[in-house]
Symmetry: D2
C-alpha cells in the first residue's frame, strides 16, 4: 500500500474544518495526525461534531506550543480566522520549512499588500509569505499550484464567479464594464460562530441581501478579473443569504463584446472546461440548480440568452463547503503532493 501523507488540520471545530475531516477520512493517501481547536482543546472531535463518533481521530489540541519541526507534517490545512492565520503560518513555515500549506482563510489571497491593507484595515503581518503564496483556483492556476509551498485557497463566492467569467474575460468576449453578479449563498458560508442573525428562527422562511455595495470578496474578484483582463476590472456584486445549508448560486449578467452571441460565450466555456473533472458546462440554454452539486466538488455552469439582444445570463453553482472550500483545498493538496487530482474528492452529489 502506498504511504500516506501526514496531515494536520488547524481549526477543526468549524465547518470547513469538519468538511476537511469528512473528506480526508476517506482519502486513500492521507492520514490525519493533528487536529487543533482553541476553545475545544482537549475534547474529542466527536464532542464538537458527533458525526465523527464512529471514527478514530486525534484529540483536539491548542496550537500554542506545538513543535512543528517535530511534528514533521507533510501538509497543513489552515482553517483559522483571518489575521490569526498570518501569525500561525509564519510560525509553522519557519519551524518546518518543508511542510506544505493550503490556507482556507482570506489572508494570502491578495497579492498586493496595499489592496490587503485597504480591505482589511491593517498592514499584513507576513509579507514574505504573502509574496510566496499562490492563488489556489486549480482550474486556472494549476501549474503554479503544483510547485507551491503555500496555497491560498480561493473564497466560495469568488470561485463561483471566476470559473464562468475568467475564460470569457481571457477570450475578450464580454464587456468588462457591465458585469453584474447577483450571488446567493447557503448559511454554512457564515461559519459556526454563534451570532443572533444566524439563528434558525432568524434565517428560515426568509431571504435577504447583505454587504450591499461593499464586501471583502470584491477585492479578490478585482484582482483575478484584472489579472485575466490585463486591465482594471470592477464588477457589481451583491451577496444574499438563502435558507439552506450548502450552496453558492451566482446569476451573472453580461454583454457580449464585438458581436459575441450568448451561444458563442457558451462555446468558449464548453471548450475551456472540456477536460476538467470538476467543472461541468450544461448544454446551451439549460440552467443548473444548487441542490444538484450538494456535497460534491462539482461546479455546474449554464448559459442562456437574455431577451435583450446581445446580453447573456450565466448561472454558476457549487457547494460552498466543497468546491468553495474544503474540496478545493484537497484538490490543491493533491496537486501539491503529486496525487491524482480527483483523489478522495470524487463523491457524487447528494440529492435529495
Amino acid at each position: 500500500m502506498a504511504t500516506k501523507a501526514k496531515i494536520g488540520v488547524l481549526g477543526a471545530s468549524g465547518y470547513t474544518g469538519s468538511e476537511l475531516v469528512r473528506l480526508l477520512l476517506r482519502h486513500p493517501r492521507a492520514e490525519i495526525v493533528l487536529l487543533t481547536a482553541e476553545r475545544s482543546a482537549g475534547k474529542q472531535m466527536r464532542e464538537v461534531f458527533p458525526q465523527f463518533s464512529p471514527y478514530e481521530l486525534p484529540t483536539l489540541v491548542a496550537i500554542e506550543g506545538l513543535d512543528w519541526a517535530k511534528l514533521g507534517l507533510d501538509l497543513v490545512f489552515c482553517a483559522l480566522p483571518h489575521a490569526t492565520t498570518q501569525k500561525v503560518l509564519k510560525e509553522v513555515l519557519t519551524q518546518a520549512p518543508a511542510t506544505k500549506v493550503v490556507d482556507l482563510s482570506a489572508d494570502f489571497r491578495l497579492a498586493d499588500p496595499a489592496a490587503y491593507a485597504k480591505w482589511y484595515g491593517h498592514e499584513h503581518h507576513a509579507l514574505e509569505l504573502q509574496k510566496e503564496a499562490v492563488y489556489g483556483l486549480s482550474e486556472i492556476h494549476r501549474r503554479d499550484i503544483k510547485k507551491a509551498r503555500l496555497v491560498a485557497n480561493p473564497g466560495c463566492y469568488t470561485t463561483c464567479a471566476q470559473l464562468p467569467l475568467i475564460p470569457l474575460i481571457k477570450a475578450k468576449a464580454i464587456d468588462l464594464d457591465e458585469i453584474v453578479i447577483d450571488a446567493k449563498s447557503g448559511m454554512t458560508g457564515a461559519g459556526r460562530a454563534a451570532k443572533e442573525a444566524m439563528l434558525f428562527s432568524e434565517v428560515s422562511e426568509g431571504f435577504n441581501a447583505y454587504g450591499v455595495g461593499h464586501h471583502r470578496h470584491m477585492a479578490e474578484l478585482d484582482q483575478e478579473f484584472s489579472l485575466a483582463a490585463g486591465r482594471d476590472v470592477v464588477v457589481t456584486f451583491t451577496p444574499h443569504l438563502v435558507p439552506m445549508n450548502r450552496g453558492i448560486f451566482s446569476t451573472i449578467y453580461v454583454r457580449g463584446k464585438r458581436g459575441r452571441t450568448p451561444q458563442e460565450l457558451h462555446e468558449i466555456l464548453l471548450k475551456f472546461y472540456t477536460k476538467e473533472p470538476f467543472v461541468h458546462v450544461l448544454p446551451y440554454g439549460e440552467v443548473p440548480q444548487s441542490r444538484h452539486v450538494r456535497g460534491s466538488n462539482m461546479t455546474f455552469i449554464g448559459v442562456t440568452k437574455d431577451r435583450i439582444e446581445g446580453r447573456a445570463i450565466i448561472i454558476s453553482t457549487l457547494d460552498n463547503l466543497v468546491k468553495g472550500a474544503s474540496g478545493q483545498a484537497i484538490q490543491n493538496m493533491n496537486l501539491v503532493l503529486g496525487y491524482p487530482e480527483t483523489m478522495g474528492i470524487d463523491q457524487v452529489a447528494l440529492f435529495p
Copy 2:
C-alpha cells in the same frame, strides 16, 4: 353596525383563495357568502384547508350553474386559472352587471390584445371586458380603481418591481436601457398544483432560477414601465425560487440618469410613498429582508449605492400572497366599495 358586503371567492381551494378567506374572515365589512372549487365541490373549506376548521364558512360549490343575478353579490374575487377566468367573468358580469370584480389571474392585466395574444398564444376570449378592466396597483392607479367595475390585480413579481421603479421612471431619474431585476420568490408563488418539481424534497436545501430569458410576467412589466416612461422599456428580469413559503425579493440594478445619485433616487421614493400605508421606504443605505413583511400587506424598499459610480442597488420585498395577491385584492375591494383603504389588511408582519 354597518352593513356587510356580500362577497364571493371563485377558486377558494388554492393559496390565493385561502389567503382571501383568512383576511375576509376578519374584515369588518365583508361577509363571505360564496366559495367555489371545482374538484372539491361539495366539501367543506376545512377539508381542503384545515386551518379554517373552527370557523363557519359556506360549503364549496362548483361554478357551473350558479345564478349570478340571484346571488346578488356585491363583489367577486376571482382566483381561477388563466383562460377559465375570461369565460367565467364574462358570464358573471353579463348576468349580474352590478357585481364588482377583483380578478387575481393574469387574464385582464394586459390592455393590448396583441400583447395578450403574443404572450398567451391565443386570442383573448373577452375583449370587451379586457378594454374595461383597470390595472389594480393601488398606489399607482388608485383614482381609476375607485371607479372600476373590473380590477385586474397585478402579479406578485411585477408589484415588487413596479413599486420601486415606477416613481423613478416617472421622474426620469434612471437609465431605461440598463435595468436588471434579479427576483426571488417563495414557493407559494408556484401554486398548489401537485407537480414533482414543487415537492418538498425537490425544493428544500437548494436554489434555482427558472424561465430565464423569457417569463410571462415580462409582458406586464413592459406595459407598465412603458406607460410610465412614455416610451418602450424592456428590462432584464430573472426569477428564482427560494426554499421558503412566502416572499418576493427583488434586487434591482439601475444607473442614475443625468447625474442623479443613489441618494437622490432614495429621496424620490421616500417622497412618493410618504403617505402610503403599505409601502415603507427604509432609511438610505438600509436593506430590507423578506421575513419582516411576512403575512402583512406591506412592501419594504431600500436603496443603496453600488461601488460603481452612478449605479444604485434597490431592494424591494413583499409577501407574495398578501401585497402580491390577496391583500392587494382586498385593498382594491376597499377602494371599489368605498371602504377605508387599510380595512382588514393592517395586520403586523409575523416574524419569526
Copy 3:
C-alpha cells in the same frame, strides 16, 4: 372610543416580547407606553425587529431606575429571563401595587417553594408574590385569573399537554401511571440568545431530542396534573426540536381507565371545550397539524384509537409564541382587565 389601558412590555427584544408587540399594536384597548430591553436600551424597536419599522413605538429603555409609580401602568407583561423576573416584579409591585402583571417566565408557575428550589437550584427570591400568583391557563383557571394581580403564564410545552389531559384526568378517564408525552417544538421555543446549537446550519435538515429524562417543564406538569387528579401524577415527557420556527406538537399515549374507549375520551374533550374560542377538538379519528394553527391563538386536539385495545393516541398542537406564550398572555390580560376574552387575539392562522 373606549379608553386604552397603558401597557408595558419588559424584555421586548426577545421573541415573546416581539410577539406581544405584534398583537398589542392591533389590540383596540391597549396602548404600548413602555418597552424595555437591557442590551438594546436606547435603540428603536425597529432596530431589533425591523418588521416594526412602519409603526410608532416607544424607544427601548433599561429597567434600572424606572419609576413604576409614576409610570402608572395598567398592566405589565414580563418577558424577562428566569430569576431576574423575581427581582424586577417585586420592585414593580412594591412601587405600583395597582399595576397588574402577566409574567411569561417560569418564575411564578410553581406554587410550592420546595418544588421551585428543587428544579431551579435556589430559594425563590419573592416568596410572597409566589404565593399570590395565579397559574394562568385561562381555560382551566379562568375564574381565579379574573381576580388576579399577578398571573403566571404557563409554558408552551405544558399548555399543549395540559389542554388535552386535564379534562381527562379530572374525569378520571385515563390510567395515571402510563401517560407518555412525546413533544416536538419549533425553534423559537429556544429563544433568541445566540447559541451554536441554534444556528440555522446546526438545526435545518435534522431532528433531535433534548433534556431526555429530565426537563424543567416536568415540574409544571407534575403540579397541574397532580392538582387535577387529587394525587401525585408523574408522566414520561420527551421534548424534541423540529426545524421549523413555530409550533408545539404533542403525541400523547394514554390508556382508558375502567373500560373508557378512545371514543369516550374524545367525547369528554369535545364537551369540555365546546364553548371555548381557542381550543378546537377535531372530529374523532382526525389528527391536527401544527401548520394549521400557526400565528393564531388556537389549540387543535385530535383523538384516535391505538391498535392496542384500550389505548388512545391524542395529538395536540398550538403556536408556541401565541397560545404557548404571548397570545395566552393577552388572553389573560383580557381576563384581568375585564375585556372580551378574544379581543385582539382572534387572528386566523397563517397557512401556508
Copy 4:
C-alpha cells in the same frame, strides 16, 4: 483490477433508485448496465436527476420486453412500486435464475401469505418467491442473506426500530406489552410522486402525524419482533413527518423486565453491536441526532433512563435513503456477491 458485477436498477427515477446510482457509481466492484423507468423511458438519467449530468450512465428503458437471460445481470436492485414488483421479479427470476435480486419494495418482506393478504388487501402474486425470500436486515440475518438469491430489503421505519429492539427482545430484557415507538421521518420517505400533501408549501414550517393507529409497516414489525421473542408482539407505533429531506428518528419507550435497568439495556446493545461497522451505540445517557448520520449508512443509537423508575428511552436514527433503503441494499449486495460488507458504502455523514 477485479472484475465488476453487472448491475441493473429497476425503477431508477425514484429517490431510492437515484440513491442506488449515487452509491454504485463509486462502488469499485459494480458496473451499472441497466436502468429502467417507465414514464421516463428513452430519457437520459441526467434529465430526471441532473446531479448525474457529468457521469456516463445507460439510457433509461422500459421493463416491458427486456430479455433477462440475454442481459445476464449478476444482480438486480428492484425499486418498483408495490405489486408491480411481484410480477416483474417473477419474470426476471424465471428467465434468468442465476441473477440475484435485492428488492427494496415491501412485497417480499412478509413471510406469512395470510399477513400479506390482510395488510395489502389481495393474495400475493408470487407465492413461491415469497417463500424463498430472505429478510434483509444484515445485522440480524447476515448468515441467511449470504446464501440468498432474493433479498427483501427492510423498510426504513422498521430498520430504525428493529436495530435497537431486536437485541433487547432476544435478551428478554424488556416488557413486550408496553413498547411505544414514536417515529419521525424526513420527506424523501414519501417518495417522488407528485402529491399535494408533499408540496414544499404544505410541508415546510410544520409537523404532523399520519397513519395514526394503523400503518403497513406495523406488519413488518410484528413479524420480526414476534420472531425474535418467540411469541406474538404488538407494539404502539406512530409515524410523523419532519420538514427535512432525510432521516428517520425513533423515540422508543420501554420498561426493563425482571429488574433490568436502562444501563443494563445499554450494555446489551453495546455488546451486540460492538463489531458492527454500521451500528454505533453512543455512550450511556447520550442521544443521537438525525443530522449526524445524513448521507451515511450509519445507525446511531442512544439509551437514557426515564425519570420513572424502570423505564428507558431509547433513540435510534438513520438516513432513510441509505441505511433505510439503498445503502442497506448495497450492504446486502455485498453479502450476496461475497464482497467486503462495507465496500462502497463507507461514506462519512454529510453535516452540516
